[in-house]
């Protein structure tokens, strides 16, 4: 008797050992392989990472033109930057000179270092582009409207932190480009002094000087500034962006998923036959009831689950696809173009021209008219304006449709032309004829702060937007006009700053015309 028992136990042991891989996989899924409606649902809400998604996704959300995958592209770029950033921290030393040498080591000595650095740089750039385009998508489809107003605000926070991450990362190589871009950036933070100086207030009230001191930890860009930017770049801002992203994604679900037009169900074509996607069959018939209470008209409760498909696999595979495309784009760009590294930072000789990262060159162009208005005043007006949009536009026409609302695409097209034309004419005039300082050398600074090409441009855009509100009797029309104008103005100023400004910020048709020095 005893030997047979032993034999059985051993056989059982061997069988268990054999089935370990299968069992591990099964226990990982907790509720079994996701191949039925029920197990796909439990797959989503039983998983701590996936349950930010709802269990089922409306077919409208999966249309390519609904989101163009821009939100997921932003997250994907962030994830690539996160992984490559952690890898770069193995070798990076945040101390002047040592920082420069370590970046040089990463670029030329460390195995795969150059690729990782390039990936980090390109993913950061793609993230900025994707975040801006994602915002434009949300705006043009009027996705910010009830009940998604607050998520729009979170999105603006994410835009600001994204730009902050880019800017703080720019100093870390401690080369000439970095050093002088940060000197300019820190002095933009100090630029409220332009106003307090003119009013003789700086001795009593100096918010500009305080901002600069907190940013640099010193009165010049040095070791203190580098460690602060490093801290912001690798710790404070990533934590902030992770928290904001968590809220942003969770709110998408709680606010009823992706925005869609009221007649979305009618616009969608007939459901594809089950045989079209045999791997992801719809069987068996519904065996559960979604009990979550979701705000908004989109809740499926009581109206059945028409036109929704399980998030696993339909949504997740689409998201994975966007991640792969983003990764591919980053890889291709990294192999094609290396991240720049100029000579070691030299505090007595500025880089000429000293240019910020491309997405700040529009700002730098405005800063070359007035530091305060260009660097602080107008950006603050734009951010406040963006934040107010969902609280001012409380209409319903056109929600979920591209360029929806009164005016529509013709208005957007006209605004784009106006938004492109006005800054080009204004810049051409300033480049040809100069500005107030050249005409009246002793003019008080406050007048230039108030009246410069940047503020005039903002005023023209604002007046045009007001006219649109009156003409179409709709706040949405005004918002469409203003947003399009600012986007176009941003593009024009960025292109001028990037391609047409040379040494001493003088206008040149092409870098080949720059004087040799």
């Amino acid at each position: 008797m005893v030997p047979t028992e032993e034999k059985d136990a051993l056989r059982e042991f061997a069988a268990s050992l054999k089935s370990v891989p299968t069992r591990v996989l099964e226990t990982a899924f907790r509720t079994g392989t996701p191949n039925t409606d029920r197990s796909r649902s439990t797959f989503v809400f039983g998983n701590v990472f996936l349950h930010l998604h709802s269990v089922r996704t409306h077919r409208w959300s999966l249309r390519w033109t609904t989101t163009m995958g821009l939100g997921i592209m932003s997250v994907s770029a962030f994830l690539i930057a996160l992984v490559t950033g952690v890898l770069l921290m193995f070798y990076y030393k945040p101390y002047p000179e040592a920082a420069y040498q370590s970046i040089k080591d990463i670029h030329f000595v460390v195995p795969t270092g150059r690729l990782i650095r390039n990936l980090h740089r390109w993913s950061a750039n793609i993230m900025v582009i994707a975040v801006i385009l994602h915002m434009a998508r949300a705006f043009y489809t009027a996705a910010y409207r009830r009940p998604r107003e607050y998520n729009w605000l979170i999105g603006i926070g994410l835009l600001v932190v994204t730009l902050g991450l880019s800017f703080t990362g720019y100093l870390l190589p401690w080369d000439q480009l970095a050093y002088w871009a940060i000197t300019i950036g820190a002095n933009i933070a100090q630029s409220p002094r332009e106003v307090t100086d003119a009013l003789n207030l700086t001795d009593y009230f100096d918010p500009g000087g305080m901002q600069r001191l907190l940013l640099l930890g010193s009165d010049q860009v040095g070791a203190e500034a580098l460690i602060r930017f490093h801290l912001l770049h690798v710790m404070i801002l990533p934590l902030a962006i992770a928290a904001l992203m968590g809220v942003h994604f969770w709110r998408i679900r709680k606010d009823g998923g992706m925005v869609r037009p009221a007649d979305a169900d009618a616009l969608l074509t007939a459901r594809p036959a089950e045989s079209v996607t045999p791997v992801f069959n719809e069987a068996p018939v519904k065996t559960y009831q979604l009990a979550a209470i979701v705000r908004g008209r989109s809740a499926a409760v009581g109206r059945g689950q028409e036109n929704t498909v399980p998030s696993m696999p339909h949504l997740f595979y689409a998201e994975l696809g966007v991640l792969m495309v983003t990764l591919l784009a980053c890889l291709a760009l990294s192999l094609y173009s290396d991240a720049p590294l100029k000579e070691l930072a030299n505090p007595s000789i500025p880089e000429n021209p000293a240019k910020a990262p491309w997405y700040f060159l529009g700002l730098q162009e405005m800063v070359s008219f007035s530091a305060f208005m260009g660097g602080v005043g107008i950006p603050a007006i734009v951010l406040i304006g963006l934040a107010l949009i969902p609280y001012l536009d409380r209409e319903t026409e056109g929600t979920g449709k591209w360029f929806g609302g009164p005016g529509g695409w013709p208005l957007v097209r006209f605004s784009a032309l106006l938004g492109l034309g006005v800054p080009i004419i204004l810049e051409a005039a300033v480049i040809r004829f100069g500005w107030l300082r050249e005409w009246f050398p002793h003019i008080p600074q406050l007048i230039i702060t108030a009246i410069n090409p940047g503020t005039i441009l903002t005023l023209i855009y604002a007046l045009f937007s007001m006219w649109c509100i009156r003409r179409y009797q709709s706040t949405r029309a005004g918002a469409l006009a203003l947003f399009t104008c600012f986007l176009a103005g941003f593009i024009v100023l960025t292109i001028i700053g990037t391609y047409f400004r040379g040494p001493n910020w003088v206008f040149y048709w092409s870098p080949s015309d720059w004087p040799k020095h």
Binding site: I184, S218, D219, G222, P350, V367, S368, N504, V506
Partner: protein, 160 residues
């Protein structure tokens, strides 16, 4: 403690004096106060009390061959020093716009970052700079010239 008879009150309408509310509210406000105090204290830390920057005062010897109105820039300093018949004077070469180091030229100074131009006396002639370049305090003691970058003097102050 005097309370109303249990029979006249339901469990949903407990005490006339909300003792629990009072305790809850006072702990809420204590927590808010502590948070405010703590955050204020934390914000004091990043504001440096002593700035880790090199001394703003430095000694300099002008070359014999320096012509009147010609700028001498000591290595590693953003100051242009001049000598003419009336004496020695120093003009800061840090742009008042966004802090780039301006370069002395025949007419005055030019900024590489945003195109500000200054006259030889520091006045703005072109570009976004909001203020003239400040003149710095110079002391001459027996041939040794000391420049103090932290102290400005009125335009035109020359020290013999």
């Amino acid at each position: 403690m005097t309370t109303t008879p249990a029979a006249s009150r339901s469990r949903l309408d407990p005490e006339p004096v909300p003792r629990r509310d009072w305790l809850g509210l006072s702990s809420l406000w204590a927590a808010a106060g502590a948070l405010l105090f703590g955050v204020t204290g934390m914000l004091k830390l990043p504001k440096a009390a002593v700035l880790a920057s090199p001394s703003k005062k430095f000694k300099v010897t002008l070359p014999e061959s320096l012509a009147a109105g010609e700028a001498f820039v000591p290595p590693g300093r953003a100051v242009a020093i001049y000598k003419d018949a009336q004496g020695v004077y120093a003009v800061s070469s840090i742009c008042t716009h966004l802090g780039c180091v301006v370069k002395p030229n025949a007419e005055g100074f030019e900024c590489p970052c945003h195109g500000s131009r200054f006259a030889a006396n520091g006045e703005v002639t072109k570009g976004p700079a909001p203020r003239p370049l400040p003149w710095l305090k110079v002391t001459v003691a027996g041939g040794a010239i000391t420049v103090d970058e932290a102290t400005t003097v009125p335009q035109g102050t020359k020290v013999a």
